[in-house]
Symmetry: C2
Subunit: 310 residues, 2 copies
């Protein structure tokens, strides 16, 4: 496939669709929304407004890093601090679906919905890829109707348009486009990170303390596995605790699972055969996080497991 | 150390202590209680009564296997079916300490206490080893007072004696004694298995269904790792569930942890660097157990983890 030609065609399509109007998109820092941001900016220039919503669920230093990388490409990004709204919505929830719903609802209805209405933009650019659509059809992902999620009824509030320029690509295609667009490798080669971010790396309730634990583990996993050549790697905090010994005394400690997989397009995956010295070092660093006394490595392919835990 | 001399000394000590009276011991099938059974039988012959208490928490085929191995050594063992008493005591319990207490209380107070009283034996042989005593002193294991646990007050019910012939040995010493005694390798080289058996391999509530799941995983782990040369290996069932895909549909499935360690005497341990083809095969077989869709490998040394989970 000629990705240079694909890029030019998509830029022309976005320009044609939006005309003289203005558009809005939310940048998460993942490769999908990064590519949409650059495509949209090339097509529309200042008529595309890009927001980065800080939901408290980000990795260490993530909001600053993303905004600064786009600033270097001369693409302005508005950082919106919505941390309290998300933490409040998540308090007390343990069911994975309820947690997902709380994050999605807070994102679309509370935060993004308000931004869309106050911006006056009627065109929304969204980073949906082909795998998202296939998994929704197969019942693996939930159906998404973005306007409905924002509480916008198209019959009452006329004229909103959703543009999904990546809907004919899988993850490997998106990475090719990122390279063609000249995105920095930190974005184009960035491992996939789900929209609900660290909340999907926590089984059970999402609290500030538990976010701190899984954020520390995520930093370690990303440092140690950056050169692994893996498609994706992550740290997951379980709710189960296990016995341990600290300073000669019995204790119950947190359990962190490390998952590191090979995959082409996230539809299937296999556990990476990491070197043992790396596995031991990961374990040693992770069990040095306060409260953590177990580190497990996930051996399971997809299927029967998914890549994520919740 | 001259283990042959040690054996002769212990047999003489037991004979001297018990005199013409009768003794009782409970055989679990682990190396400690197996060695005590053979020592006691050599010392006392038919004046030692050995019971095997089936607590519903045994591995696949365990009660039949143990009784039959001792029958081949011409040591008669009474199998006591106490499965219902244990399952009833465990129903609804999720706290590790409460589960341990329920099993210990059912064992000593309900089942073994009754057997002791009805047998008339005043001498009890017990497989305590030095590591048990050290860990109790260090606060890692709970204090055990066997008579108190049976509800026997030594001031009211006079004359009971507890003999602990292995109290000066660690696990490696017990194995040496087992070899000197000519125990079959299936007993002398048997990997350690805790008294509360599969209940210690279940985080959360112990039910018949959950016992079936962890029993199936234990059979697989023991088959695959029998030639690993490891000190101990086990399968643990968590309460957390994780997302998976089965027949194209999203599901929540059970998580099994495989733990396989090197150790000399159980005081310290390290994860065994198993070959990847073996890890993948373990994972494939374990995720074929109904309801299980994740298999994790525990990387953690002791300390900071313990060998067991609960």
């Amino acid at each position: 496939m000629d990705y240079q030609a694909w890029v030019e065609k998509k830029i022309a399509e976005i320009r044609l669709a939006v005309g003289d109007a203005t558009a809005l998109n939310a940048l998460s820092g993942g490769v999908d929304s990064s590519v949409v941001t650059v495509l949209g900016h090339r097509a529309l220039g200042e008529r595309l407004k890009t927001v980065f919503i800080d939901n408290a669920l980000m990795r260490e230093g993530e909001p600053e890093r993303v905004v600064s990388m786009f600033a270097q490409m001369e693409i302005p990004v508005d950082r919106i601090d919505s941390r309290k709204a998300f933490l409040d919505a998540l308090a007390g929830l343990t069911d994975p679906e309820e947690k997902r719903c709380a994050i999605t609802d807070t994102f679309y209805r509370t935060v993004f919905g308000d931004l869309v209405r106050s911006s006056g933009a009627k065109y929304l650019l969204h980073g949906t890829i082909l795998t998202d659509i296939e998994e929704t059809v197969a019942g693996i992902k939930r159906q998404h109707n973005i306007l409905a999620q924002m509480g916008i009824d198209p019959r009452e509030e006329y004229g909103y348009h959703i543009l999904e320029p990546l809907a004919d690509l899988r993850k490997d295609g998106v990475r090719e486009v990122a390279r063609v667009l000249g995105l920095p490798a930190a974005l184009s080669e960035r491992i996939p990170f789900p929209g609900p971010a660290l909340a999907t790396r926590i089984v059970g309730e999402v609290t500030t303390e538990r976010l701190d634990t899984v954020r520390a583990a995520t930093t370690i996993v990303e440092e140690e596995l950056a050169d692994s050549g893996a498609f994706q790697y992550m740290a997951v905090l379980l709710t189960d605790k296990a016995t341990g010994i600290r300073d000669g005394r019995r204790e119950f400690g947190e359990i962190i699972v490390v998952r590191c997989i090979h995959s082409v397009d996230a539809r299937e995956a296999t556990a990476v055969e990491l070197p043992w010295d790396l596995l031991h070092r990961l374990c040693e660093r992770i069990t040095s996080i306060p409260g953590v006394n177990r580190c497990l490595y996930d051996l399971t392919p997809k299927p029967p497991a998914t890549i994520e835990y919740v």
